[in-house]
């Protein structure tokens, strides 16, 4: 019984939140890694692209809610998501035309593009705050839990409850669908193959008649889609606040680098590595250990390795370790 309680507590506090957070990071890291693979620079504006896409979705959600349009138990945001994605696609294609293209044609050094993307970050950030403000915004509606802790306790008779939030379920399901769709696109379609070819060897791809501008355009469209979905899922699961998306940059980049920049499979793996490290290291294990240890050995403290305020430190340390020992990442990325 104690063992079961410990298992349920573990699932409730570590495993389920870790999977949901990992899915969000993986989607974010996929966007970063695609930009890196095709356009060959680290896109600092990715966090704020997520914020912009999520903001458009939030505004549409509010509009639908005011019309009384809902999805019943599911959050209305899912209905608004396509509009958010369309907005983000438009935004990124416009940014590319107005900003990045100039440097691409000039074949500027990647570090210049990184600085430019930092400028774009702040413009996006300013626009987001200008339109929706800097405060927390709630846009979740529908049914809160699939299984609530109380129902679970009543069902099983255990002391520990397992709650499974709707947003967590949606996050995981959406992430799986998106990843399958992305890999199908990259491996099976002509456009996806030309993207991979361009990423592997630009000159050879150009010689084979691949139109680079078309590849870049498709990349931005996919990146906008991924960023908006990741941003909305994160916003649904936690809450929408413009500044948190800037702070998400660090774990997202850490995920992409840990997996190997430019490698999509690596980005997904990296997302889960970072998410689970963060959750396990900042979780107070006392709750679980109480069930597992004999009574006289019960821990007195919280058995928390690091306070949750240091969750960024976790991704940072993992990043440093990977840079020190395996700069190309767990899966072979392009970068040396």
């Amino acid at each position: 019984m104690d063992l079961l309680n410990a298992l349920v507590a573990f699932l409730n506090y570590v495993f389920v939140p870790g999977v949901a957070y990992g899915s969000q990071l993986a989607l974010g890291a996929l966007g970063v890694t695609l930009v890196y693979g095709i356009l060959r620079f680290s896109n600092f504006a990715h966090g704020d692209t997520m914020a912009m896409g999520a903001m458009a979705t939030v505004l549409m959600t509010w509009l639908f809610q005011s019309w009384g349009l809902t999805l019943g138990p599911l959050p209305t945001a899912l209905l608004a998501l396509p509009f958010g994605i369309a907005f983000a696609i438009g935004l990124l294609l416009f940014t590319d035309r107005a900003v990045y293209k100039f440097y691409r044609v000039k074949k500027a050094k990647p570090v210049i593009l990184v600085i430019v993307s930092l400028g774009v970050t702040f413009i996006y950030n300013g626009v987001t705050r200008f339109i929706i403000g800097a405060d927390d915004q709630s846009f979740f509606d529908g049914q809160r839990f699939i299984i609530s802790a109380r129902d679970f306790k009543a069902m099983t008779g255990l002391d520990e409850g397992l709650s499974f939030k709707t947003t967590q379920a949606i996050t995981i399901v959406t992430a799986i669908i998106v990843v399958i769709a992305l890999f199908w696109f990259l491996n099976k379609t002509r456009a996806g193959k030309s993207m991979r070819a361009y990423s592997d060897n630009e000159d050879l791809a150009l010689l084979s008649g691949i139109n680079p501008e078309r590849v870049v355009m498709i990349t931005w469209m996919i990146v906008a889609t991924l960023a908006t979905i990741a941003g909305v899922l994160y916003g649904l699961d936690k809450s929408f606040k413009p500044f948190t998306y800037f702070q998400l940059l660090l774990p997202i980049f850490a995920s992409a680098i840990v997996g190997g920049l430019g490698n999509p499979i690596g980005a997904i793996a990296g997302g889960f590595v970072i998410a689970f490290s963060e959750v396990t290291i900042t979780y107070a294990w006392k709750k679980i250990l109480v069930y597992l240890m004999p009574e006289n050995l019960e821990p007195s403290g919280l058995v928390q390795l690091l306070s949750t305020d240091y969750k960024f430190a976790v991704s940072f340390v993992i990043l440093l370790i990977v840079l020190l020992f395996k700069p190309t990442g767990l899966f072979k990325g392009q970068s040396v």
């Binding site: 600085i115 702040f122 440093l320 970068s335 040396v336």
Partner: protein, 434 residues
């Protein structure tokens, strides 16, 4: 037009802008712009060393500046009574133990042969060291934070003259830069950017959460000053008399006097650093750095140690940011970890360097003054603009209120636009590199 004439005109233009502020608003705000402009120029000088000389992209300026601020507290504040005997030794011991653990792990890495056994030993050393560290640190921290938490609850500082904190702030920043540089330099250029972004966030997190060190978000106030207090001056009959001779009341006279003293101090630091940076730029070392920046492969083929030079210049530039951070905390008289924002302390400095002219020290100083001036003045200008735009709208309409409220966010937008426009149309900046 010669370069000298053009540069003189540019600086004269800024002087005119500041004088206009002095006449239109108040001389106090004009002097405040000058003193913050000086500090910003020093930060820009440090970043220019990294970016302009060596092409290194540092996105963690905020962290280095904050470390300088920490130095001001640790050096300048008086020690908390009884805190050191209560837990100080424990904390110091724990920190030494932590450092020892890492050194031990590195030694194991070096001495043992690669393989699963080595990995296992390294992990064991690190895990055991971490638990020992926490076991020693936690109770000491608890004892320190128990001492009069409303007023102190932290270790306090050494109670030394606060001016000593300025070079010490540089040393702190240099140490952090060494750690980052050692890992991220020599890899792709983007990695340094990401690593510095990370260290900045972590330094701020430490300052916010380690109450025994910095009182966290409770802020340390009353950092000692290198200049007299306004109130003392106002009570000093000699000063009141001199102020009256200038035709000023003692309150205004004392605030202006204190600000001028700060400006003289800051200007002295800026001049020294500027002289050093100019010497460095024209020395063989500076030429080597620029050669590396322009063509790493060729420089390496000539036998130059690219990574070592990068590490040097990265540490030096970060140290300058640390010095500026200590100066800023000294002038504010308080350390408020909650106010360190990447926009204000990282991005703004970047705009200064790019606008002023990367690779040119004079340009960095010009950018520091110009962008700081804009930064201070954009908000009232944005508010004015919003008022003009919304003047036709009905009073009390939701859109009008929203627009006026949002004027505060104009800064982000303006600075982002300035950066992009300069990078696109005048990438060499106002005073280009020679």
């Amino acid at each position: 037009m010669t370069t000298t004439l053009k540069n003189t005109l540019l600086f004269a233009g800024i002087a005119v802008l500041i004088i206009i502020v002095g006449i239109q608003q108040s001389w106090n705000s004009a002097l405040l712009i000058i003193s913050m402009g000086l500090i910003s120029s020093i930060m820009a000088l440090g970043v220019n060393l990294q970016w302009g000389f060596a092409g290194l992209f540092n996105v963690g300026i905020m962290g280095f500046v904050a470390l300088g601020g920490l130095a001001a507290v640790l050096i300048g504040m008086p020690p908390t009574e009884g805190a050191f005997s209560a837990g100080g030794l424990g904390v110091v011991g724990a920190l030494l133990l932590g450092a020892g653990t890492i050194i031990a792990a590195i030694q194991v890495m070096r001495r043992m042969q690669a393989g699963w056994l080595r990995s296992l030993v390294v992990i064991l050393v690190l895990v055991a060291g971490f638990f020992l560290f926490r076991a020693l640190l936690d109770p000491s921290v608890e004892r320190i934070e128990e001492i009069n938490p409303a007023q102190t609850g932290y270790l306090g500082g050494l109670g030394l003259p606060v001016l000593i904190a300025w070079p010490v702030g540089g040393l702190f920043a240099a140490a952090a830069a060494w750690l980052i540089g050692k890992t991220a330099l020599g890899l792709r250029s983007d990695y340094l950017a990401i690593a510095t972004l990370g260290i900045a966030e972590i330094i701020i997190a430490v300052l916010k959460n380690e109450d025994w060190l910095t009182r966290g978000v409770k802020n340390v106030i009353g950092v000692p000053r290198p200049v007299p207090f306004e109130i003392d001056l106002q009570n000093d009959p000699g000063f009141v008399e001199r102020a009256a001779a200038f035709g000023m009341d003692p309150v205004e006279g004392s605030t202006l006097y204190v600000k001028i003293l700060y400006i003289l101090l800051f200007a002295a630091v800026l001049l020294i650093l500027m002289w050093m940076a100019q010497r460095a730029l024209h020395s063989p070392w500076g030429r080597m750095l620029r050669a590396i920046r322009d063509n790493e492969v060729a420089a390496e083929a000539m036998g130059k140690d690219v990574t070592a030079r990068h590490l040097q210049v990265f540490i030096l530039g970060s140290a300058i940011c640390g010095i500026a951070g200590a100066m800023m905390t000294t002038m504010d008289g308080q350390l408020t970890p909650g106010t360190y924002q990447p926009l204000r302390f990282t991005f703004l400095i970047w705009v200064m360097v790019i606008v002023g002219g990367s690779g040119n020290n004079l340009g960095a100083v010009l950018g520091g003054f110009l962008i700081w001036f804009l930064w201070v003045q954009v908000e009232p200008m944005g508010l004015w603009l919003m008022n003009v735009i919304t003047s036709g709208m009905a009073e009390g309409s939701a859109l009008k209120e929203h627009l006026i409220e949002s004027a505060a966010h104009m800064r982000l937008l303006t600075m982002g636009m300035v950066l992009l426009l300069v990078l696109r149309f005048s990438p060499r900046g106002l005073i280009p590199e020679k």
